[in-house]
């Protein structure tokens, strides 16, 4: 018998049943409360999580607001035979703004992009179009200008056509952007809050101190995920509230599915955050690692522009990124009204990230 039986407090074997304790005394509640307090008492973190996406969306909404079918500037060289007739035919053409310029200044304007197409009359009614065929608006302007000149010279349409134009919410840039912004924010806040929180505690030896208590290590890590879920509610309210009520971005599919995608994405990114945090000893090392993980996804995963712009060769890799899956799924549900059946492959990708990242992070995790 080596047990210390005369110690004044309770013996371990004969410890009485724990006194009933309120829910607030439970360690998982306390740990989660600590996460929330630490977050809301850091004004910068609050801004970058909630304020920044709203400012960004507001700015982009202004920059990309739908202007009445934008007119494209084109230039016509003056002082050569046929100039005046070309100018007369083009003036007043819907979709074009005509600048009459000397050859010198016209060429300069074309190079700097001040005009999209330069019309150079060649005499005998012939013209030459100079433009950069990589620019979509230049190709369009060339077609419009050509049609106007052909009509001005007396060409008659073989096919009679009429137009019915429409502006549909859901096809604007801001409609494209809001789901991507939500995805980007979910990723950024999950990875940063966990990586920063854990590594900060490790570098201050607080992790070591906590492991010197009977605290459950699983509960400690779970508290980060639970706190994430609460922030998720705020983030979704902020970004979708702005998108739907201020900018008129549609949610055509089921709102529950949008929430479900956001939840799953949040879990998957939390796993990645934990992975980033698993070994780094300093906050600097963790931020470097987090940037390394996040940066490619900001570029490739279709936040600001569609990821279909990248070459086909790397498309499968891009599609496997968790942020691409999140953004594609959110866009499909919000903009196209897709159901669960249409986004299952994205959900499967997120689930794979989740079930790979968490166990790996726990395996690698250093408590001190």
């Amino acid at each position: 018998m080596t047990d210390v039986t005369h110690a004044p407090s309770r013996g371990m074997a004969a410890s009485p049943p724990p006194a009933p304790r309120g829910w607030r005394d439970r360690s998982i509640v306390q740990l989660t409360l600590v996460r929330l307090r630490e977050f809301f008492r850091e004004p910068e973190a609050v801004f970058w999580t909630f304020g920044f996406p709203i400012v960004l969306a507001g700015g982009l909404a202004v920059a990309f607001r739908n202007k009445p079918a934008e007119a494209v500037p084109i230039g016509v060289v003056t002082g050569v035979a046929g100039s005046d007739r070309a100018v007369n035919s083009l003036k007043g053409t819907a979709g074009l703004v005509v600048d009459v310029l000397s050859l010198d200044s016209a060429e300069r304007a074309l190079r700097t992009g001040a005009i999209a197409v330069l019309v150079v009359p060649k005499g005998d009614g012939a013209v030459e179009y100079r433009f950069d065929k990589e620019r979509a608006e230049a190709r369009t302007a060339r077609l419009i200008a050509d049609q106007a000149l052909q009509h001005g010279a007396g060409t008659v349409d073989a096919v009679k056509s009429t137009e019915l134009t429409l502006t549909e919410p859901g096809s604007r840039y801001i409609d494209f952007f809001i789901p991507g912004l939500l995805g980007m924010n979910l990723m950024g806040s999950s990875v940063w809050s966990i990586a920063f929180g854990v590594v900060n505690a490790r570098s201050k030896k607080l992790l070591k101190r906590l492991t010197a208590t009977p605290m459950s290590r699983a509960e400690y890590l779970l508290s980060f995920v639970l706190a994430r879920l609460m922030f998720l509610a705020f983030e979704m309210a902020a970004i979708l509230g702005l998108g739907v009520f201020v900018l008129g971005v549609p949610i055509r599919g089921s709102f529950a599915l949008v929430v479900g995608i956001a939840l799953l994405a949040s879990f998957a990114f939390s796993g990645i955050g934990l992975l980033v945090a698993s070994r780094a000893k300093t906050v600097e090392a963790a931020s470097g690692l987090a940037n390394l993980v996040l940066f490619p996804m900001w570029i490739f995963s279709g936040v600001f522009f569609a990821s279909t712009r990248f070459p086909d060769v790397i498309r499968p890799v891009i599609k496997a990124l968790p942020l691409t899956a999140t953004n594609d799924a959110l866009r499909a549900v919000m903009l196209q009204g897709a159901g669960l059946g249409a986004v299952w492959s994205q959900l499967a990708i997120l689930t794979v990230w989740l079930v790979v990242a968490f166990p790996l992070a726990l395996r690698l995790f250093r408590w001190r």
């Binding site: 005369h6 009485p16 005394d25 201050k204 030896k205 208590t213």
Partner: protein, 314 residues
């Protein structure tokens, strides 16, 4: 279980070894700490005190040796053991953004039979700082909070690693009082320190540690008595003059003599005989004193006589 045949031990360490690369931090260390005792590990920085206490706390695995805490082993009963221990590490920074109260509520939530937050706040006299954020606390208040976090689980055994290092005298005294109150409840404390006055005041028994080994063990009184001296006489000579240690050791009542940076230290019995004899010897050699003082021997003198170095030199 007769206490005579086999007294229970709150902590027992046998043949502890810990190496970091080619450095041996702990080199075959043994300890026995009895329930209700305050035990001090005294030694210079780098002596292996922190490594030893962290192995005892189950935070660092030893390379060799056995540790038994409250009759249990770390490898088998970690969670149950953690319920009964209070630990203050040497350098933990608690979360700046939490208040004193919130920090204690968090630590309290980990234990199955904790003390109340109010009680612990009273114990460490942080009542006025209850709602203050950790970032607003002074060094002494932070250290008291760290000890409060160790006490809130209602531990039987308290580990304190250099609890007063870097604190002002008033904060040190406050912490000493807290530790004495804990001792008064009959519970066990293991503390490390490189302050001899702290060890003398708090510890029932002291192990002096150097280079990862216990080089002396006993009550502070026993250790001091082992010097065989009643007083220590320290003096220095004017004009950077010097006197041979042989001459000094020949003086009546001088047990040992050493010199360090121009200051001579003599361990003497019967200072009322030794001092006049010393002054006579110096005068006959034509040497003038620049300074002279005497003090009762301390653990510092014990350390110096064992290692030839001062504690603070490390």
């Amino acid at each position: 279980m007769s206490p005579v045949a086999s007294p229970p031990r709150a902590l027992e360490v046998r043949g502890l070894v810990k190496r970091y690369g080619s450095v041996t931090a702990v080199d075959g260390l043994d300890l026995e700490i009895f329930p209700g005792e305050c035990f001090g590990l005294l030694g210079p920085n780098g002596a292996g005190k922190t490594t030893t206490i962290e192995i005892c706390e189950g935070l660092t695995p030893p390379d060799a040796g056995e540790v038994t805490v409250l009759g249990r082993r770390w490898d088998r009963e970690e969670r149950a053991l953690r319920e009964r221990l209070g630990i203050a590490l040497q350098e933990t920074q608690l979360s700046d953004k939490l208040s004193v109260e919130e920090t204690l509520e968090l630590f309290r939530s980990f234990y199955s039979e904790p003390r109340s937050v109010d009680e612990v706040i009273d114990l460490v006299s942080l009542g006025e700082k209850r709602t203050a954020r950790v970032v607003q606390l002074s060094g002494g208040q932070k250290q008291r909070l760290a000890v409060a976090c160790a006490l809130v689980g209602n531990p039987e055994l308290l580990f304190l690693d250099e609890p007063t290092t870097g604190l002002d005298p008033q904060s040190r005294r406050q912490l000493w009082e807290m530790i004495e109150q804990f001792k008064a409840t009959g519970r066990t404390v293991l503390l490390t320190t490189h302050y001899m006055d702290e060890a003398e005041r708090l510890a029932d028994r002291v192990a002096i540690v150097d280079h990862g080994k216990v080089i002396a063990l006993g009550t502070p009184q026993q250790l001091i008595a082992s010097l065989g001296a009643e007083h220590v006489v320290a003096f220095s000579l004017a004009h950077d003059a010097s006197v041979s240690l042989e001459t000094l050791r020949a003086v009546e009542g001088v047990r040992s003599a050493r010199v360090d940076a121009g200051t001579y230290e003599l361990a003497v019995t019967a200072v009322h005989h030794a001092l006049p004899a010393l002054l006579g010897t110096l005068e006959r050699s034509g040497l003038a004193l620049a300074a002279l003082s005497t003090h009762s021997p301390t653990l510092e003198d014990v350390f110096v006589s064992l290692t030839g170095r001062a504690l603070r030199e490390g």
